[in-house]
């Protein structure tokens, strides 16, 4: 198990290593990033100045053979929202860090001069290199150059030009097994924080690193099997997700009347079937070549919900193309062409900005008349401005709230400054509770009530009813906080929420590794504690229950086809965290 905390002070370029304090032992992933932020980052600091930190942490199970356990948590104070932030991603870096025994890698301070560093992490040393040839590179070119410089077996955590330009929507990416550099910890602008530390890339080379140690190998193996069985037996994790990818979500959400269309004006999109998971699978099948469904985002993922979207010649156009992006740059903009969506996705990846936020932003700009709904070529041109840093590019780089402020648009789908994901809360009341009360702005993964509301996993809730939604959001928020800390993909909970045995497998693996005594109750307490400290940070940063609300237009503008407004009262929203 990983025990090292590595600190890289960018003010004086000193690297220090310490053994993690005993109290951090059972903290991994998000629990660890949020704890370090709460303890070390002044809540009222400017996110892009020296007092903020970037904390990079593998999960508790990362690096082991636990299925789907290779997620990476990256935390800091968000320049987009001003709140505490954890963004997480697949890719290969998390497991490499775990194998190197690194529990957390912390970037702190800020260079006084305008320098840009690449940090190389190996078993034996951590070095800061001034690689000016990396400056301003898009992440695809950067990946090529990194492979040439460091070989094709390294992990690369990096930012694109957007992060260097300190854009509030910049993410931090890392590469997958194919060295596609598009596994983004995308949300909340942490790429700008990394840019503000003068760090373009972190190269992680785990050559000769030992495998991650597990105390009780035998129990671990048995427990692992329980989780694996659950994943294998559940129709979502073994059928829908590998077959259609996350884009398989388009159809059910469209049918439910909650697929945000034309900047959240409608809940259904007539072109939905052109951007669905089935359509994507069909194109992948037809075009062949590198195209693939059932692709894994990190080694050891047995769900394989990812994909490689090919162009007409079978070359990689975008890998992966996920539901949220598909929606953000598709139905939300009235675009129903997967090729255009994939191109938009690739531009976002290359320059290094969050696709959900960018989709919301372009939606706002379309609402403002800067370009027209449905204008895919116009959207491509607009996104190309981002990397050039033109005024329009800068506006896009600010995100939806910034674009709304620039153009006087008040229909901005966001909470605490972060754009909404692909579920209109007026048609799915539970996810609205999560959007409103989540510590990190509108974020579906913060408490995915869609599971019981739409997919009927872990419960069966009428999406249009307000009944039970506060509780559902509270429960899923705790669950997410726990799962994000373990390093597991949130999608394992589709399986475990309907399979107690599989759920126990998770606790038993952790217990076998750490000598702990987790069970359902303690896991939920674990999640609750994470949520609590995140909210405490936000309170110190100036957030109040007033900020735990959806945008005004959702309370007074009906969403077709159900013609519903958002109707869970503020007093009830406040009960989530009471």
């Amino acid at each position: 198990m990983s025990e090292k905390i590595v600190r890289i002070n960018m003010s004086n370029l000193e690297v220090t290593e310490e053994k993690a304090d005993e109290k951090y032992k059972l903290l991994g992933g998000r629990a660890l990033t949020s704890t370090v932020i709460k303890e070390e980052v002044p809540a009222d600091c400017n996110p892009l100045r020296k007092n903020n930190k970037i904390i990079i942490a593998p999960g508790l199970l990362t690096g082991t053979s636990a299925p789907a356990s290779g997620r990476l948590s990256i935390g800091g104070k968000s320049p987009l929202t001003g709140t505490i932030k954890e963004a997480n991603a697949g890719g290969i870096c998390s497991q490499k860090l775990a194998r190197l025994g690194i529990k957390a890698l912390i970037l702190e301070g800020q260079p006084k001069e305008d320098k840009i560093y690449t940090i190389k992490v190996t078993k034996d040393s951590i070095d800061l290199e001034e690689k000016y040839n990396f400056k301003n590179l898009g992440v695809y070119q950067l990946m090529d150059d990194v492979k040439e410089t460091y070989g094709d077996k390294v992990g690369m955590l990096a930012i694109g030009p957007a992060g260097e330009m300190l854009m509030q929507t910049a993410g931090i990416t890392n590469n997958d097994m194919d060295n596609e550099p598009s596994r983004y910890a995308a949300r909340g602008g942490l790429g700008a924080v990394m840019g503000s530390k003068g760090v373009k890339a972190i190269i992680i080379d785990d050559t000769d690193a030992p495998k991650v140690e597990v105390k009780d190998e035998k129990t671990f193996k048995q427990a692992r099997k329980k989780l694996q069985e659950a994943i294998k037996n559940h129709p979502v994790t073994s059928g829908a997700l590998p077959s259609y990818g996350t884009a398989g979500t388009v159809d059910p959400i469209n049918e439910s009347g909650g697929l945000p269309t034309e900047n959240f004006k409608f809940g259904q999109f007539e072109g939905a079937s052109n951007v669905s998971g089935a359509k994507m699978a069909e194109i992948v099948e037809q075009r062949g070549g590198k195209g693939k469904m059932g692709h894994a985002c990190h080694p050891g993922c047995t769900i394989r919900c990812s994909n490689i979207y090919p162009d007409k010649d079978g070359n990689v156009l975008c890998s992966p193309l996920e539901y949220e992006t598909d929606w953000a740059l598709g139905p939300n903009l009235k675009i129903d062409d997967l090729d255009i969506i994939a191109k938009l996705n690739r531009i976002c990846n290359d320059v290094g900005i969050d696709t959900i936020e960018t989709g919301c932003t372009i939606g706002v700009l379309m609402e403002a008349g800067v370009l027209s709904f449905g204008d895919g070529e116009g959207a491509i041109k607009a996104l190309e401005e981002v990397g050039k840093g033109t005024p329009l590019g800068r506006i896009i780089g600010m995100g939806a709230v910034g674009a709304g402020n620039a153009y006087g648009i008040t229909r901005v789908p966001s909470v605490k400054g972060q754009g909404m994901p692909a579920y209109d809360p007026r048609a799915m009341k539970g996810i609205g509770v999560t959007y409103a009360t989540g510590a990190m702005g509108a974020d579906h993964t913060f408490g995915y009530t869609i599971a019981p509301e739409i997919f009927k996993c872990g419960g069966d809730l009428d999406p249009l009813s307000t009944e039970g939604k506060v509780e559902a959001s509270r429960d899923t928020q705790k669950l997410s906080a726990f799962i994000d800390s373990v390093g597991l993909c949130l999608f394992v909970t589709f399986a475990t929420s309907d399979d107690k045995n599989g759920e126990e497998g998770i606790y038993e693996m952790i217990n076998a590794m750490y000598g702990s005594d987790l069970d359902t109750e303690k896991a939920m307490e674990y999640g609750r504690d994470v949520l609590k400290l995140e909210r405490e940070f936000n309170k110190e940063a100036g957030f109040t229950p007033v900020h735990d609300r959806l945008p005004e237009f959702m309370y007074d503008e009906e969403l077709p086809p159900h013609n519903e407004v958002y109707n869970i009262p503020g007093d009830d929203l406040d009960k989530v965290h009471q």
Copy 2:
């Protein structure tokens, strides 16, 4: 005395008049705008949607012969700061409203369609007219068209294209006695709120209106004389201000080391003498023509600190050119040419944006390298983008925080989203207390500690010392809240702070008019109550003491020549309102 509350509901175009409730009797100007906002505007509303209101209110003494009593208060929830807001201005509209018996004119609701109205207010009626020929006009052309349509004796309250485009820095202007349409209630973006109500202009025609009634004329006259004597006898109000205008402030602030230069990097500007009040007076003298110092911003002002800045041929280039603007578009940008500053000022006026905010914004853009410090022609070109609504124009229209977000600049001189005026708080600690703890963002008029700190009026405080600054800010905040409610110009307090007799004149005039029993103590309680309800609104809008702080860079970056950081601790700032 004015008793009518006029409401114009822009949702259904209904106009209603009611007699003001008895509890509103002694509320005028800011006390009235803030009370109505607190009582009627949901604190968490979106400032540019239907639930916000614009409240326009003359002061308690406005319309009488009280010297310098013609200020107009305009209030609403600010789209720039999200706080409660009152902006006030001279000009001729306040007295006309008072003569029409209007205590407050309230714009509420929002048209469903994209329409733009002109409201005509006369003794007999209030009419809404759809004047599409006014759409998108700059305020100078608008003024000409208004004169042609309504005659040259009317008051015009209006917005420029920036307000129509809902820019967060848009102000509301009104005309002066020369029909110069440049008396702006500029700060906080209330022009965008007026734009969001679909109102381009309010024409105020007080033909045949009765004069404002005063209960006890004799006592009023005696009291009036006391105030007038104080103004006449004080060297600031009778000497410096009429001779050099507010720009006379350049020299002493520069000498003190607190004239923010190059986006608050330095406290002294080598070109200061080129933009000083003395220089302005010299130019006015040399060029002759329409140029004038000692000009009054509204009828009955006996201080006459205003001016008309002429071009080389003696025509009006900008009327007036005030200290804050002179600084914002001059030293703050390293521009030392009054002709260029006047041109920039005129562009701001015409398009309708706040000059202080715009100066801060251009400073941030210069910091970002979008243009260079000192580049006056570049600044002119950049400002011309605003009216065109280009992306760069939109960025400028967002204000300093928006521009900082767009370009990743963290040296943004602002509090609660509002750019700082012309006094660097690191060199004048008292004004920093006001900037930080004021309910409306960084605002010098909210509690002008510069009076005792620099001008030695109403006290003598060492500007660099932290001693007594919390108290000084608290006292001046109460005083401002009271004076803004009376309709007096804040500058009368230069005189009255050193002349008890003059101060009493103010209370005695009010008492003679309203049958009240105000004295010093009660006036301070009056001010305190206004501050209190403004802070209550902000609290309900989600503001906490965390927001009562200066920007981070001022705590860690020393300001030459004194090399001071801001050093009044947060705990002390919090005492201002305890």
